[in-house]
Amino acid sequence: MYAVEMRHITKRFPGVLANDDITFSVLKGEIHALLGENGAGKTTLMNILYGLYKQDSGDIYLNGQKVDITEPNDAIRLGIGMIHQHFMLIPPFTVAENVVLGIEPEKNLLLDREKAIKDVEEISQKYGLIVDPKAKIQDVSVGIGQRVEILKALYRGAEILILDEPTAVLTPQEVEELFKIMRSLKEEGKTIIFITHKLKEPMATCNRITVLRKGTLVGTVDTGKTDISQLAKMMVGREVIMEVEKPPHQPGEPVMTVKELEAYNDLGIKALRGVNLILRKGEILGIAGVEGNGQLELVETLTGLRKASAGKILIHGEEMTNHSARNIIEAGVSHIPEDRRKRGLILDFSLAENLILGSHFKAPFSHGFQMDYDSVYDYAGDLVDAFDIRTTGIHSQVKYLSGGNMQKVIVARELGREPDIIIASQPTRGLDVGAIEYIHQKILEMRNGNKAVLLVSADLDEILSLADRIAVIYEGKIVGERDPRTVTEEELGLLMAGGSA
């Protein structure tokens, strides 16, 4: 008996066929992975199941019964729960309050707190989802927040759980715990659909894997009868080089030195508490850490976008603490920011206009007061060719590009400037395998060309395969430095979680 059957689902968005005649079924009580690159149509398909979108054609069956799901309330009533990438929790409320929100137990017209706590404890014990019902959401970690989201779904009687890229925000230890929870949910008879674009994860947890590519179904395979390279091939449509080739590195002189750097975050809380770093020519220094431990503030302070409250930044031996972003660009620092849509690009600007951002005030693009758009267009054309940006032309707005091509625009702009130092923050987040491969190769080219690269990434695999040295950041401090050739993932995970290794 199939818990979920989606037959011949087609969904079209303006200009995109997001789901093209996809037939997909999940057995009751299995963990089923939905694997595919960004834009493959995984989330669209699940949003249809959860009632967020309506399919153009095709039918949905639950336990053999045809159902009509037009809004999330229908899905919830039918026992479907979805845990989104971005949590929908209210930070000042407690865990229990968040779980019961909307269907609160009442006593004399008031929220029955005790019953709420008791209910939450009950489910939490049944499924091994350990939480403190009285803790406020703002005080708990991302991993716990995710458990609360799962509890919310279970509290509403979910039998089928959809998890949308749940591991993206977790430490390796938290990922392990999530997998444990998934297994125990399965033992209790729940059905789980697990959306991911990472190859290793479904192999470790799932019974079956369905692969989507560009909105079409590639196939469904049993985990026991496949391997990672077959999955990669199904996902991308060609052979993928999984390992990056890295010639031995010869670090040169220091080009950027950071001493006891301190800075505040946007909420006015101290986010950097004395960071020390030395970045040398011809090396990639990886900064590993769970997101939100000061990475953003570190990168912004180094690039002149945030004021340092104490400490020093030396670039090429010269003190550049609290210099303007323009001065730091002029000193030969390029920056690939983590939020490409908010920081890295002006979405309504054309490709050409975006490709000169940061050099727009210099020759040959600007003669002081007047711009020279002819040379802007020539330069943009060259970069589009050199960096293989797939676009309809340099005059089209970047908002129409795919995520991977947007990132290529940023990489082209930042590397095309021929910098000495590259600060790259989450450079491949959310990109598909092909684009990741490309960007990794470009970063390595820079390092091999004797440039200095500071690579900040929450993706341990990325750090381990690219970096020559790994520094771990935790609560605004560098808590350890390791050699990627000898360190284990467990050791890094412990450092990232604040333990000493």
Partner: protein, 360 residues
């Protein structure tokens, strides 16, 4: 060279996307249709009303010149709003900047005697621009330094500016008589009339020069690149080494200068003196002009011409058909409603789909 010309054409087409022009065009047609229904319901003939409106606006050389006279200040104030908007700023202070610019131009026009035209006139015009810019400087610095919202501060500056002009026109610079107005400016500071027995003055050339100038600044200069970058995404602009504060101050001051020039044009060209109340709300009509013109200098000219024609033709329509000039105001309002409608429909659709919280 040929390749680059091609580039330019493509760039123009993309920037002024066909959709923008289409939306504005449909909005105007739809508004005229709704206006026709209103006229019909109120018991007049829509055909007669629009015929009178059209003839009043374009029927003769005289009418056309009067339409252009009404169009001129709207070009200035439309540019005022559009330019600031390109930097992401709402300059609601056009009215005050217009008043201050007009008064300053008048004072310079009265106070110097014996100057040759080629010195006196540019001086008076420049003084008007400078005063309008200065009036916008205060809100711009408050915005850049402490983040005070420019909508609030420019509106506050309107009151200060208009009341200050009222004082100046009632006391220190009051001309003989009971009207709050200054003396006539020296002939050497007057913008010449272009067509005999009409009110059309050379101010319209000043307005068209400003259209070219704003286009040039926005799309051909480094300053314009930075202003547009800040307007579209201040975070990315900052990341690209652009001073957001500096761009905000410059954009708002230039915007204020355009309004100040508008005031100078009215005073030195049309009235030859500052008359309190010379603007029936041009500064605010500029918002409508900019919206209809999609914040593009060329769009502003077309929007200003439409509203200028409606204003001028409306008076003839009232005389000929008894349809009140209020119809013109209604049409203006409906045009704006329809220009904004596509965005509203998008929001409604999202509300229907995902609830209020996901709509914006």
């Amino acid at each position: 060279m040929k390749k680059n010309n091609y580039h330019r054409v493509i760039q123009l087409l993309k920037r002024e996307s066909v959709a923008d022009v289409f939306i504005s065009f449909v909005a105007v047609v739809a508004a005229l249709l709704v206006g026709a229904v209103i006229v019909y319901i109120s018991g007049s003939s829509p055909y007669e009303a629009y015929k009178a409106l059209y003839e009043g606006a374009f029927g003769s050389t005289y009418d056309f010149c009067q339409t252009l006279t009404r169009t001129t200040p709207l070009i200035f104030t439309g540019l005022t709003v559009a330019f600031a908007f390109r930097c992401g700023l709402f300059n609601i202070g056009g009215e005050g900047q217009l008043y201050i610019g007009g008064m300053t131009a008048a004072i310079v026009g009265i106070s110097f005697t014996g100057l040759p035209l080629y010195i006196h006139l540019p001086l008076a015009v420049a003084a008007g621009a400078a005063a309008g810019g200065a009036w916008a400087l205060v809100p711009s610095v408050l915005k850049a330094r402490v983040g005070a919202h420019e909508v609030i501060t420019t509106i506050m500056m309107n009151y200060i500016g208009i009341l200050l002009c009222s004082y100046l026109a009632n006391y220190p610079f009051k001309a003989e008589g009971w009207i709050a107005q200054t003396n006539v400016v020296e002939p050497s500071a007057q913008l010449p009339r272009l067509v005999a027995s009409t009110q059309l003055s050379a101010a319209i050339f000043l307005a068209l020069a400003c259209v070219v100038l704003t286009y040039y600044i926005l799309y051909k200069t480094t300053l314009g690149y930075e202003i547009r970058a800040v307007g579209l995404n201040p975070d990315a602009a900052e990341y690209g080494g652009i001073s957001v504060q500096k761009s905000i101050v410059l954009a708002l001051v230039i915007s204020g200068m355009l309004a100040g020039l508008g005031g100078a044009g009215e005073v030195l060209g049309l009235h030859k003196r500052f008359i309190f109340g010379f603007s029936p709300g041009y500064g605010f009509d500029g918002i409508a002009v900019a919206v209809l013109g999609r914040n593009h200098p060329v769009g502003v000219v077309l929007g200003a011409l439409l509203f200028g024609a409606l204003r001028n033709g409306g008076m003839v329509m009232k005389q000929m058909t008894n349809v009140p000039t209020d119809l013109v105001v209604a049409i203006q309002g409906i045009v704006i409603l329809f220009v904004a409608a596509p965005e509203m429909f998008r929001i409604f659709r999202r509300i229907k789909k995902g609830g209020i919280k996901n709509a914006f």
